[in-house]
Amino acid sequence: MESLILQAASRFMMPLFLSFSLFLLLRGHDLPGGGFIGGLVFSAAFALHALTFGLESARQTLRVEPKSLLGTGLALAILAGILAVVQGYDFLTGLWSTFQTPMGELKLGTPLLFDLGVFLVVIGTMTTIAFELFAEGEQWNP
């Protein structure tokens, strides 16, 4: 789609979308957000990018193959569960540790890792579907 307005807007929107999506992912445990919503925002950004600049450009910007995000995400989610098993808890028990940093308390735990897995799987799924449909479209209406 050769729309100047869309292209100009997209250039500004992409970084905003992407940082917003990470923001949602990280704040999700305490405030509205989380891996699922963050992943949707991320995917929306790339769907928009593909609509504006074409599939090839979107693929290059994403850098990784969308399919590989599916496996990576699932592996991270399993890892989050296994970490608890290794410590002697049930599969997927949340483990937390708190670190003192100059900027305040930092709370890290396996649920964040799990949420990161969800985030990646959602991105992988949505971008895979979008990119496949784009490719299909370009094949019939080049």
Partner: protein
């Protein structure tokens, strides 16, 4: 972690790292893997020794699924120890052998990984004391052997692998039913804590299920055909699976359960008939084959039949048959493993395994010739090989039973093994054939196994004979009490029969050139066998599935929708009306203008979508509905849901737009009747869902789970966003299931879009 846990862990760990370890270790890999196998065997042996006296070990028990009484329980018993030593000892030689067999060809890491995983599963089977633990390892052997049999990337290997999986897998399910019944009847799944079931009302059912399960695994008639077919695998696999391990699992389990199920006429007779028939069928079917592997495979079927028959005989004849079982179990594993390896070495060097094309290999492969003769003599049952002892006791125990079938079977087996041994070892005699002349000696790694195993068979037998049966005392007692001395008359009769059967077997083999045509003519006329029945059954199942799919999976999206929503509305509506009744439609609060506006927007959006004349407009209208729902979420304090709804709506519109480019022009295709039907389904589903939601809101659950989540969120899950703590902590396993579904859906989209026949060519590049 105890020695037994470690023993099972080692092979699986070796399997996991195989893809990297085998490449990284290079020429050291066979030695490392062989040592790993020996370490496993050593640990099992060590565990057994630690419990003074007999070869029993302490129990290893961990809770696994306490709710259903399933435990991770291991215990070594004499029979299990014997099996574990065979499995790991032969496994070690197979690792060496495979390295020589594969040489520089690729695929060794995969083979090593699968072999190691298979070995671990087998060790698990023979050391498990909990019936369910045992079953899980049992199934693991089925799965790993499926992968091993189908190792070669050919259509035929895949089919035969599937055949093996299908038969042993179906048998596994039957076995599971039997084991569960045993657990219910005994009140425990621990085999060592169960008593005899002979008087229990479930006895007959348990016996039938267990025997069927074991018969499929150990290739008993009429399930025998998968085993010779599985010879399509690379030789190391055939040698390992079919000499000592996989196929002996069924026999092992029958023997292991003998104290619990045995001691009745039903058990003894069933096993005698089943085993005897398998022994006869295996021996007869071996006759017309000329492929080295097939010849050996059918005698393996016969040997498994003999072992099953001996378990049955042990019930009525006691000690003699029990001793024969112990001897034959070990003797067969040793000579059959050696012969399979030798057959593979011949195939590897002479490029054929057809006995008609091979002769005079003695000259070109002298180092292979020696173990071949030794293993062949053990198979025939020559003094002082262990095979001789096994055959003596086998014939003696068959002689002392009044049931003639067992004696006929034992004789058929003796003649058959003499025949096959003569055929197999015969390829080393005579003038070198064209193929044999071009052969070279096999690499040393391929000969270690045959030498060790055939010499072990000789040494063990000789030692036992020299000490008057004292050397292998433990082995003799694995199935029952140690017998006293055999009556001399019985021993002499057995010896005479044994000699006669050797003479007959070897004579037939020597004159097979003349006899075979008559036999082939007979074989060609047999049109119906279990394998044909099995094939017809599979074909029938496929065509049934085909017809079923055509009716249920017609590929029409709108009919799927109509079916799905129609059935859901009918089922849920019926349940609601019969169990709960209609909810109240009276509101207790006054409508708020904002809510009314949003609800109206949703209704207008849905209505406009239905009557729209363009796809894009319809999607936009649906979007309005979706945004209105998001507004409702927001209004009632569910920002997470609202955000998700908004994002999903947005992405859905983008995806729709992408799809629209590919669709033909918008037209009305449904007839008036179809449109009325669709409207009825939609309205019906909507009405039912409305009632369900109202009913849920009006119902007063005693203690809603949401209170627990809301109160526990911060202290238990360390987060204040309840929606998120539910997703990633309280119900993380559900979320994990959902993201798995998402990933699969994405793969499904790829498959749907890419794998159409027209595109297959394009993507297969």
């Amino acid at each position: 972690m105890t020695a037994l846990d470690t023993a099972i862990l080692i092979p699986f760990a070796l399997a996991l790292v195989a893809p990297w370890a085998v490449r990284f270790l290079g020429p050291l890999a066979p030695a490392v893997y062989a040592l790993g196998a020996l370490a496993t065997g050593g640990l099992v042996l060590g565990a057994a020794r630690s419990e003074g006296g007999g070869f029993w070990s302490a129990d290893v028990v961990r809770t696994w699924h306490p709710g259903v009484g399933v435990e991770w329980a291991l215990k070594v018993q004499p029979l299990g120890l014997t099996m574990a030593l065979l499995i790991t000892g032969i496994g070690a030689m197979i690792f060496l052998y495979a390295a020589g067999y594969f040489g520089k060809k690729p695929g060794l890491p995969r083979l090593y990984g699968l072999l190691a995983a298979f070995m671990g599963s087998m060790v698990g089977v023979v050391t498990a004391d909990d019936a369910i633990t045992l079953f899980i390892f049992w199934e693991l052997t089925s799965v790993t052997s499926y992968l091993l049999i189908g190792f070669n990337p050919t259509e035929r290997a895949r089919n035969y692998a599937f055949q093996a999986l299908w038969i042993t897998g179906a048998g596994g399910l039957i076995l599971l039913a039997g084991l569960v019944l045993m657990g219910l009847a005994a009140g425990t799944f621990r085999l060592s804590e169960m008593g005899s079931f002979a008087d229990h009302p479930f006895y007959t059912a348990i016996l039938v299920l267990v025997v069927l399960g074991c018969a499929t695994k150990s290739a008993q008639f009429p399930f025998h055909f998968w085993l010779p077919n599985a010879m399509d695998a690379p030789t190391p696999v055939s040698a390992y699976l079919h000499s000592a391990t996989m196929v002996k699992a069924g026999v092992f389990l029958l023997a292991r359960l003998d104290p619990l199920l045995g001691g009745t006429a039903l058990w003894s007779t069933t096993l005698q008939i089943l085993g005897g028939t398998t022994l006869v069928v295996g021996s007869i079917l071996a006759l017309h084959h000329t492929d080295l592997m097939k010849l050996l495979a059918y005698t393996t079927v016969a040997a498994l039949g003999a072992l099953t028959m001996l378990i049955g005989l042990a019930g009525t004849e006691g000690p003699l048959a029990a001793k024969a079982f112990g001897y034959f179990l070990v003797a067969h594993a040793l000579y059959k493993g050696a012969l399979f390896m030798i057959a593979g070495a011949v195939d590897h060097e002479a490029k054929t395994r057809d006995v008609q094309l091979l002769s005079g290999l003695r000259r070109t492969m002298p180092a292979t010739f020696v173990p071949a003769v030794l293993a062949g003599l053990a198979m025939i049952g020559f003094v002082p090989f262990l095979g001789f002892l096994a055959k003596e006791y086998k014939l003696a125990s068959a002689l002392s039973v009044a049931f003639p079938w067992t004696l006929i079977a034992a004789l058929a087996g003796a003649i058959g093994s003499a025949f096959v041994a003569a055929r197999v070892v015969g390829i080393f005699w005579g003038k070198p054939s064209e193929k044999a002349g071009a052969a070279h000696e096999a690499p040393p790694t391929m000969l270690v196994g045959p030498y060790l195993m055939s010499l072990l068979g000789l040494g063990l037998g000789a030692a036992d004979l020299a000490t008057g049966g004292a050397y292998l005392k433990g082995l003799a007692g694995i199935l029952g009490p140690e017998p006293g001395t055999m009556p001399e008359a019985l021993a002499m009769t057995a010896l005479a029969l044994s000699l006669a059967s050797i003479v007959v077997g070897v004579a037939v083999a020597a004159n097979w050139g003349r006899l075979q045509f008559a036999w082939q003519g007979f074989v060609a006329r047999v049109k119906v066998g279990p394998e044909r029945v099995h094939e017809a059954g599979i074909a029938g199942l496929r065509s049934l599935a085909d017809r079923h799919t055509r009716i249920v999976q017609h590929g029409m999206l709108r009919h799927y929708f109509a079916q799905f929503f129609g059935v859901s509305a009918a089922v849920i509506g019926t349940m609601l009306l019969t169990r709960h009744g209609l909810p109240s439609f009276v509101s207790h609060t006054d409508p708020v203008p904002f809510e009314v506006t949003v609800a109206l927007l949703a209704v207008i959006g849905a209505g406009a979508a239905v009557f729209s004349n363009s796809r894009l407009a319809a999607v936009a209208m649906l979007g309005i509905s979706g945004f209105a729902v998001a507004a409702v979420y927001l209004f009632f304090g569910a920002p997470d849901l609202a955000m998700t709804q908004l994002l999903v709506e947005t992405l859905a519109v983008i995806l729709f737009v992408l799809v629209f480019r590919l669709l033909p022009r918008f037209r009305r295709l449904s007839s008036g009747g179809a449109r009325i039907r669709d409207a009825a389904v939609s309205l019906g589903f909507g009405a039912v869902m409305t009632c369900v939601v109202l009913a849920v809101v009006q119902a007063h659950a005693p203690a809603p789970i949401s209170t627990f989540h809301a109160e526990g969120s911060a202290p238990l899950a360390k987060g204040t966003n309840v929606v998120n703590t539910i997703l990633v902590d309280f119900r993380a396993l559900d979320t994990f299931g959902e993201i798995t579904v998402l990933a699969l859906a994405a793969l499904g989209v790829i498959a749907l879009l890419r794998l159409t026949p027209e595109k297959e060519e394009k993507w297969s590049r």
